[in-house]
């Protein structure tokens, strides 16, 4: 079904079951953040895993999605689902422009252009104290009422809302990969010139993937704004861009479940390492190094390789 392999279907069922049970045993806000970042990472995974482009500027979409989503709910008093949609559209709109500029470049040059473009967004966010709140950020964002009816204040309500969006995003990303479009993207990754010589407008394919990734990042950003009730400069910052790359890698580039697992690990790290206080940076660094030297395929990737499955 849906182009899942049998192992993937089993994984999907397991994932849904765990996510349904999780808020009763774990911390709902933590879980919601994991899902937000997993959405964000799924976009980055499309770029990195399926067209082989490393973006160092994904936070621009995430952060601006958050600001616009937050603004819509806080200042325009729109309902939360509209906020999330607007966040996604904002991400996509910026993605249209950035993608148009960046997509013609490869490898490290692509990475650097995305970094540079994200720097402008960052610059804007620091400047504009009216809209973004500068370095104070946007504070106390209300969660509002879903469709104007169901209050999302209680964590479990928001959790259900987040879960639905996450699953929709998950299936959407999966469908993109396993569509005729996805086949072409795979071909482009394998041999770009050949794809061109067959008459494929390679740049447009890359552009669309880029926009989809930006769209997912925007959704994730807006959702995250509702979950944490704040949007700040960290959300548009380079560190966030680096973190999403880390999530994809830790989870496993080009795997279906990698982004979720990667997000869970990295967010858990931020939460639980905090109590190591002085050693946070050192431990994070060691984890990066260990990832590269020991778990190159990421957790899901290594696991799948052990079991000889595609996950």
């Amino acid at each position: 079904m849906l182009g899942f392999t049998r192992a993937q279907s089993a994984g999907f069922v397991l994932m849904v079951a765990i996510l349904l049970a999780a808020p009763f045993v774990a911390y709902p806000i933590f879980l919601m953040q994991v899902m937000c970042y997993a959405l964000f990472a799924m976009g980055a995974n499309l770029l990195m895993g399926y067209i082989g482009l490393l973006s160092l500027g994904q936070a621009a979409f995430f952060g601006m999605g958050g600001y616009v989503g937050g603004y819509a709910v806080q200042s325009l008093h729109l309902t939360p689902e509209l906020g999330v949609v607007l966040g996604g559209l904002t991400g996509a709109a910026i993605g249209v422009v950035f993608g148009w500029l960046a997509i013609r470049r490869q490898t490290i040059y692509f990475a650097m252009i995305t970094l540079a473009l994200a720097q402008f967004v960052n610059f804007f966010a620091v400047q504009d104290t009216g809209f973004t709140g500068g370095e104070n950020g946007m504070q106390n964002i209300p969660r509002g009422k879903l469709f104007g009816m169901v209050a999302l204040g209680p964590d479990l309500h928001l959790y259900a809302f987040t879960l639905v969006i996450f699953l929709a995003g998950f299936l959407f990303a999966h469908r993109v990969i396993h569509s005729p479009f996805g086949q072409v993207v795979k071909a482009i990754r394998e041999n770009e010139s050949r794809a061109i010589s067959l008459g494929y407008k390679v740049d447009q394919y890359k552009w669309i993937i880029f926009i989809i990734a930006a769209f997912l990042a925007g959704i994730a950003g807006a959702l995250n704004a509702l979950v944490t009730k704040i949007v700040t400069l960290t959300d548009v910052g380079n560190v966030t861009s680096a973190i999403v790359v880390l999530m994809v890698l830790v989870g496993g580039i080009g795997t279906v479940f990698g982004p979720l697992i990667g997000a869970a690990i990295v967010i858990a790290m931020q939460y639980y390492l905090a109590s190591f206080s002085d050693w946070v940076t050192v431990i994070q660094g060691v984890i990066f190094i260990a990832c590269v030297l020991l778990f190159r395929r990421g957790v899901v990737g290594e696991f799948a390789a052990k079991l000889k499955l595609s996950l």
Binding site: P23, F24, V25, Y27, P28, I29, F30, Q33, V126, Q127, T129, G133, G134, E135, N136, G137, Q139, N140, P154, D155, L156, N224, T228, K229, I230, T232, L233, T234, D235, V239, Q270, Y271, L273, A274, S275, F276, S277, D278, W279, V280, T281, V282
Partner: protein
């Protein structure tokens, strides 16, 4: 409903205090381990054991990320933490202040500068200890103009904190009859070289160079001003400088810098006594005002809880903070002071000049007191702060 992580209190009177601070980044020396030491010192000085309290001190590194700070604070509060304290970095502080309100638990910020903490973002659960941008501006700006520094040039970190510091100081300068000759907003972070701005300052002919920045930026600006010989022609006013920054610059370079703190370890017998007690816990770093604020805040919190003598009421952030506001404070670090209705801790502000290398007799003996601005004049009047608590 989610796990009702209600506090499973033992029959005894147990209290939990969490220090959320920067332990690994640029503000580590202004908060971090030394703040934890100060909190623990307060617990000891209060005599928690003797009075039958079981006090646990926890710590968490917010890594200067508001969302991490929010996550930490939420978790701490859900684990039954009664007080979150310190939190340098205004963005993180604001975010945690929101959480404190949602969870109805007490929050004392000692490390952050933004005066908006007791302004439009104030709430019934939060207190802002130690200092804020307005107070720095009043003390440094006002006192310097009075001492003859009439014309100013600012170098401002281009973000909200820098702007606030600049705007408030510039206003004070003008109010006292001084003049602002120029200002540059430099990109923050990512600026390490200030020479260009220093040259611009020099060619403006101003008498005072106001540095509306903090941390490494201030150290860099002062160090480089020294190289260009600016300190020979202008007075340099660091609008937010901590003792640790001066230590990092060295007296050779920092000498004659003018700055404001609300605590200095070598100010009087009481501060010296406090410092002597706390130093064994923090061997390489003398406490500066933010850290002393953690001591003072914790002590006052403990005293209030004791005074209330009702653990259930004390667990209610709004009630507890209201009680803290009612009771005047008194401790070795800040002497006698009080907390205003908007949550502002009212202490005196001291204007210091950094000693020349020859004047410094003992380790960390860095400041000479120039002026004292009484609390009532140092802090922004409640009427103009826009705190909803006050209007109500």
């Amino acid at each position: 409903a989610s796990f009702p992580l209600t506090r499973a209190r033992a029959a005894g009177k147990s209290l939990k205090i969490a220090v959320i601070s920067d332990f690994s980044g640029p503000y580590r020396d202004d908060g971090g381990p030394t703040s934890v030491a100060c909190v623990k010192q307060a617990v000891a000085d209060f005599g928690a054991k003797q009075k039958g309290y079981d006090v646990t001190v926890l710590k968490g590194d917010h890594q200067n990320k508001p969302d991490v700070g929010v996550g930490l604070a939420r978790q701490f509060y859900d684990q039954g933490v009664d007080l979150v304290i310190d939190v340098p970095n205004t963005a993180v502080a604001l975010a945690i202040q929101g959480v404190a309100h949602d969870k109805n638990r007490a929050f004392i910020d000692s490390g952050a500068a933004g005066s908006s903490l007791t302004g439009k973002f104030c709430n019934a659960q939060s207190i802002h200890w130690t200092y804020d941008t307005y107070m720095l501006a009043q003390s440094t700006g006002g006192a310097m103009v009075k001492a003859g520094g009439k014309t100013w040039f600012f170098i401002t970190a281009n973000y909200a904190f820098g702007h606030l510091l600049h705007d408030q100081t510039a206003a004070v300068v003008k109010q006292h009859g001084g003049k602002v000759l120029g200002n540059v907003n430099y990109p923050f972070p990512q600026t390490t070289d200030f020479s260009s701005f220093l040259i611009q300052a020099q060619s403006s002919g101003a008498q005072v160079l106001g540095l509306a920045n903090a941390g490494a930026d201030t150290v860099n600006s002062v160090k480089q001003a020294h190289q260009f010989g600016l300190n020979k022609k202008m007075k340099i006013a660091g609008l937010l400088v901590f003792l640790n920054d001066v230590h990092g610059m060295g007296l050779e370079i920092a000498q004659d810098l003018i700055l404001t703190e609300s605590f200095y370890w070598n100010l009087n017998d009481r501060t010296r006594a406090f410092t002597k007690r706390v130093l064994p816990r923090t061997p390489n770093n003398y406490p500066s005002m933010g850290q002393a604020g953690c001591y003072s805040g914790t002590l006052h919190f403990l005293k209030t809880v004791h005074e209330m003598n009702n653990m259930k009421a004390a667990a209610n952030g709004a009630e507890l903070v209201a009680a803290m506001k009612k009771m005047p404070t008194d401790d070795d670090a800040f002497g006698k002071a009080y907390i205003r209705a908007d949550g502002r801790f009212m202490c005196d502000a001291f204007l210091f000049r950094v000693k020349k290398p020859g004047e410094s007799k003992i380790p960390w003996d860095y400041y000479t007191l120039l002026e004292t601005t009484p609390a009532a004049k140092a802090f922004m009047p409640m009427a103009i702060e826009g705190c909803p608590l006050v209007k109500a």
